[in-house]
Amino acid sequence: MASAQLTDEELFTQLKRLGFTPGPVTENTRPVYLKKLKKLREEHQGREKPLRRRGRSRQKQQRDPVQRRAETALLRLQQPGPDAQGEPLQPQPAPEPRVQPDCAEEEAVCPGGRAAPAVQEGRARVLRQLQQILNSSLQVNYSCSSVCRGQKNTNDDSDCVLKAQNQEFESFTLVALEWIIKTDQDVGLRLLGEDPQVPVTDVSEISQLESTRPRMPLTCRLRRAFLTVAFFSPNILIFFSLHDWIKSDGRRQEEETRQMYDMVERIIGETRHAVHNQDLLPYLPIPHVRDSLVLPQDRKKMKKVWGRAVCFLSANESRIRTETQRIGGADFLVWRWIQPSLSGDKRWLHYLQYAHPS
């Protein structure tokens, strides 16, 4: 229909038919409305293409008949409630016989993946409902084992259940299964063939349905949660205690080292004093130093620190020399301060000689 030949009234009615309410079409508003008509027509074409069956009489508002049919079927399925447990009920009368011929054509044209996104959306919704029903029916055969998966229901069983409920469902099930195979999303149902590990590529291979989101009773959920925590918590506890132990150990080491250095300094101080003190011997027996520096009640505690301090001194302190001397008839390990005093004492020469006997 060439736009140039449209009168104002025709343009008006065309726009209204496409769902848009225009203002009056005047000389001024005409070009704008023509553009709008063109835009609306393009949108309309894009949306209607996959569903075009009878041409212009089909309105845009009518939804995918497969979806509509399935939704009504599902609604009726959900009504019986606790009866949906696998026993075949009296089949319900099919309410929409006139849609039946459409259905067969639809499936031929639109299997699974090629449907338009809107159709897919609808199907997804219906599938979700289907899955809910499956879940509730699977609930009975469910065992709260350690793996806790929904019991697998063979395809025939579920088919029977659904078919018994509503005769129209048969074809839809096939389409739905095909769609599940083709789609990559997680629809909550897993299709299993004879060998559970091999992915299914064709509807005929399916022998079992498995639900990925089983509806577990509360007790089972609690039990699972408890088990998970019970297995997990020892690890966590161990980890934390290890961490704490390492930290405290580090701290302890630091503390001991600090004490050792402190002790070393005090020993140096004492030994130095001994030199300057004329009436005492110029060296000090090690045990005597220890006993004068460390209080009696601490001696046992400080044993390790003392040992380290002694080692440190013998290795790192050059101004103190460790020697063996006989004091009062007993042999003692002693410390002698050998740093020469800077006043140029004669004793310095003497020590030099002592140090290098040649």
Binding site: P22, N28, T29
Partner: protein
């Protein structure tokens, strides 16, 4: 909302009365002249066009762009200005 210009605020603040078409936000001298050539000599006539298009800013923007060669910013600004005036006074 983006900040409004002084022109916008001046227009939307009071009944338009007999204001010229250049008083509309987004319409300068060039665009104003083009509108006057087409018969839209007062702001109220442009308002008339806006109302004819059922106060749809998108359609009005399209129309203004077609009729005067305005760019999107100018047309959008004018549409917004008229819409707010209508909200306030109509």
């Amino acid at each position: 909302m983006s900040t409004t210009s002084q022109k916008h605020r001046d227009f939307v603040g009071e009944p338009m009365g007999d204001k010229p078409v250049m008083a509309l936000s987004g319409i300068g001298d060039t665009l104003g002249k083009k509108l006057e050539e087409q018969g839209f000599d007062k702001a109220s006539v442009v308002l008339g066009q806006f109302l004819l298009l059922k106060k749809d800013t998108e359609m009005f923007t399209d129309w203004l762009k077609d009729a005067t060669g305005a760019n999107s910013r100018q047309a959008g600004s004018c549409a917004q200005c008229l819409k707010e005036w209508c909200d306030a006074f109509l």
